[in-house]
């Protein structure tokens, strides 16, 4: 049998971003023994990069805000494809989750009366994003990290902090989930980055909080960790992924110099007054307000400008449309030859706000452009273009408990979970999602484990051997003829996903992508790595590659099937949004043969009181005639 380090826990959380840490806190507070496992050092997860803020209808800046308005904005942003129950829970619970952070020690920016300040963001009707300058994610992750320490200190009972009941295993990568004969989760298997040695975590409940998939695309704001591990682990364990075709391309990534292409330029630049211009100097977004949003956005520059100071009597500028709209508009301008020198458009805040204000509100953007591009954003416009940013699709979960479909003991929260954001996520709604559903997953897992009454599913030696063998395969291929370099395969994958399943999609291109994926999958069998197991990035990439390929196949297959354009899925050959397709979720599962199967699953109709929050006029843009006919008539 493979020599393997073993640990026993009640709940293991894979991922130490906002979702994972909040889940771990909830599970520990429910009395569980909890392990948190992450690929990077503790405190470095992707959440640290979030800039703009966290959405919660606290109503601190505009007291008209409440959960109903937030719910409406979220559904609109997602073009009504959201899991409405998730959107409801999210809108209702977000304020409590943000306030809770203050009790952990978070220091948000303040309003004049000392409350948490809130800023404007695309798609949000009122100023709603709690923030700390433009480093909100750092504040979130550090606060949760420090709360974990605080719980460990409590467990130390006055003595030194104790990690006996809540421990972080950093730089440890999970490669396989394990199940018992009854199909229930029994543990997770992985390796230490540092030594390459294997480790087994036995636990009846696993919470996936592994984040997104952006590293399958060439131009992305995401870090190396975003290889879709959690998505792939869920698939291989027999669970399902929902609506994987919806990938968010953030409209504003850096485009120059090439080595920083894709790095995010926060939406707060626009929320705080920045505007988009083409090479003619024109604010082109006024030409791109789609019919579903007509009447909700300013039609003249003057009105848009007045909105920043008098939002109650003016409509917001179209630069603040949801991200999918802005990204497509930029794409069209560049295609029409009105782009900036390096293939983007101009984002101008310099001519709109004083240097002092820019420095105060957007310090890390100023720093980023100064250091990486030699551009001073207080005096020059930035050049920006779309970048792969977020995946709306993810593990199919129960909204209330975050339990994953089909696999007892498996839970998922955060970016790896699907449904909450529908076809397009609003800025700021991810950080709040992490807290709301991270907590729910922790509670859900704790309840599941308690119900087992101490009877924990078994792990067999054969399972451990199998997992170890599969992880070591890339070393066996070394030295063999026709072996493949993982870096090369990765680059080819990124290039084809970017070109063929990117922001604008066509049937023939996606068919071609699927062929390429097949080919890459075959070649990935022969990936070989040099050196030994100790901290070997080539080996790590070889293992991640399998996940990226599986997840990319889900994206491409689902995208080919959905014959409409909606949110983060734009079909050149089906440019319209279809109310028939709105009733359909696409569900991916893995066949025993290793190929991805996609089926259509009808969407559950929205609860009546929630439907009642919308005007019939608006609903008629999204619902089918049959659905509209069934609406309860509204009282005058």
């Amino acid at each position: 049998m493979t020599e393997t380090e073993k640990h026993n826990y009640d709940v293991i959380v894979i991922g130490a971003g906002g979702a994972g840490l909040r889940a771990a806190i909830a599970a520990r507070e429910a009395g569980m023994r909890v392990a948190v496992i992450c690929k990077s050092l503790f405190g470095k997860a992707h959440t640290v990069m979030a800039e703009g803020g966290i959405a919660a209808s606290m109503g601190n800046v505009n007291s008209n805000d409440n959960w109903q308005v937030h719910f409406r904005d979220t559904m609109r942003g997602g073009k009504f494809l959201n899991n409405w129950r998730m959107a409801e829970l999210h809108a209702k619970e977000a304020p409590q989750r943000v306030w809770e952070l203050e009790t952990y020690g978070a220091l948000f920016d303040r309003t004049v009366d000392g409350k948490i300040s809130q800023r404007n963001f695309g798609g949000h009707e009122y100023p709603r994003l709690a923030h700390v300058g433009d480093r909100t994610g750092l504040e979130l992750i550090r606060t949760l990290q420090q709360k974990i320490v605080s719980l460990q200190q409590d467990d130390g009972q006055g003595g030194p902090a104790s990690d006996g009941k809540l421990k972080v295993f950093a730089e440890c990568t999970i490669t396989e989930l394990l199940k018992d004969d009854g199909g229930r989760i029994s543990g997770a298997f992985g390796y230490w980055r540092e030594s390459g040695r294997f480790v087994l975590f036995r636990a009846p409940a696993v919470i996936l909080a592994t984040g997104g998939i952006g590293k399958s695309f060439k131009v992305t704001s995401n870090s190396w960790e975003y290889t879709g591990d959690g998505h792939a682990l869920a698939l291989r364990a027999g669970s399902t992924l929902l609506n994987m075709e919806f990938v968010q391309f953030h409209p504003t990534g850096m485009v120059w110099p090439p080595s920083v292409k894709g790095i995010l330029v926060t939406e707060s630049v626009r929320g705080d007054g920045g505007v988009l211009r083409n090479s003619d100097g024109k604010r082109f977004m006024f030409n791109y307000v789609p019919s579903v949003f007509r009447g909700q956005y300013a039609e003249t520059e003057e009105e848009g400008d007045r909105w920043y100071t008098d939002p109650d009597h003016n409509k917001r500028p179209p630069e603040l449309l949801p991200r999918d709209e802005v990204a497509r508009a930029i794409n069209s301008e560049v295609k029409a030859g009105r782009g900036s020198p390096h293939g983007g458009v101009f984002l101008d805040i310099a001519s709109r706000r004083s240097a002092e204000e820019i420095l105060r509100r957007l310090p890390s953007m100023h720093h980023q452009f100064k250091e990486l591009a030699d551009v001073d954003i207080t005096s020059e416009p930035m050049e920006v273009g779309p970048t792969c940013h977020y995946v709306m699709g993810g593990v199919e979960v129960d909204p209330d408990t975050a339990a994953a479909a089909r696999v007892p003991g498996l839970f998922a929260a955060g970016e790896v979970a699907g449904g909450m954001h529908g076809s397009n996520r609003l800025g700021g709604n991810s950080l709040s999602d992490l807290l709301v559903f991270g907590r729910r997953a922790g509670v859900g897992a704790a309840e599941y484990v308690s119900a087992l009454g101490g009877e924990y599913p078994a792990v067999t030696d054969a399972q451990i051997d199998e997992a170890a063998k599969s992880a070591l395969a890339p070393f066996d291929a070394a030295g063999v003829d026709a072996s493949e370099n993982p870096y090369t395969l990765h680059q080819e994958l990124q290039q084809s996903m970017n070109d063929l399943v990117g922001i604008i999609r066509k049937a023939d291109e996606m068919e071609q992508a699927l062929k390429t994926l097949d080919d890459l999958k075959a070649r990935a069998q022969h990936v070989a790595v040099e050196g030994h197991r100790q901290f070997n990035p080539g080996w790590h990439l070889a293992l991640d590659l399998r996940n990226m390929l599986a997840v990319s196949e889900c994206v491409a297959r689902a995208a080919l099937i959905r014959e409409e354009s909606r949110g983060g899925h734009t079909r050149d050959d089906f440019p319209e949004m279809s109310s028939q397709w709105r009733q359909v979720n696409l569900i991916c599962s893995l066949q025993p043969s290793g190929s991805v199967d996609v089926v259509q699953q009808p969407m559950v109709s929205m609860r009546e009181d929630l439907i009642g929050l919308f005007e019939t006029d608006e609903l008629s843009k999204y619902l089918t005639n049959e659905e509209l006919a069934q609406l309860p008539s509204k009282e005058a």
Binding site: S40, L41, F42, K44, H46, V48, M49, M58, P95, Q96, W99, E102, T103, Y104, G105, L107, F108, R110, D113, G114, K115, S117, V132, R135, L138, E139, R142, Q146, V149, S150, Q152, Q153, P160, A161, E194, S223, W224, E225, W256, P257, P258, S259, V260, H367, Q368, E371, L372, A373, N485, P486, Y487, T488, E530, G531, H532, Q534, F535, N536, P537, G538
Partner: protein, 251 residues
Amino acid sequence: MSYTAHFRVWRGDAEGGDLGDFQVEVNEGEVVLDIIHRLQATQAGDLAVRWNCKAGKCGSCSAEINGRPRLMCMTRMSTFAEDETVTVTPMRAFPVIKDLVTDVSFNYEKARQVPAFAPPKNLQPGEYRMAQVDVERSQEFRKCIECYLCQDTCHVVRDHEENKKAFAGPRFLMRIAELDMHPLDAKDRQHAAQEEFGLGFCNITKCCTEVCPEHIKITDNALIPMKERVVDRKYDPLVWLGSKIGRRPER
């Protein structure tokens, strides 16, 4: 606009190692981390390096470049002459694991020792009121990305392993200052700063401030004020009491 640069990169592990010589392509706008990645992809597939965000936000890619502690992702190649040799070595104050990756667990241990934020007992979530001017001081310190470059630089521990037990280093002394200046924190921090975390070791040379990629004024804004408070208090405990009461939020 491409050229070939001469890189020397430390390769080895806890047992020992050596600088390896590489000739490697450099393109316009690139940073040192790009070059390290190019080496990985083309010449040294198993070259170990930590990184995450590539945008100076996560503090993972710390190393010493031509002897100076820096973030690799924020060091532009244009700051070197084309014929200049660029030498990249791991942070010196921490034990090497492999190549550019060091064992930074010292920092996590210190982090666990600093008593957590003590929330005020009389306020419920949602009831916290703090003025922007009052939170700003601590907010500056919370910009810290935990790159540990300041820890690497501080002479108290850089070549003095023996001091590590008694000295938390600038990053964590600053964390204590941050909590001490938090308008609603309900704990006394000053005694511990001096007695348990080694504030007294610091002789305010400001080397930590110089390397901080977040440009936090660690020495001037955190360490010196903390020292002053400790001194005041040694003579007069009422000074401390007064300072805490005086900073209660007005409602």
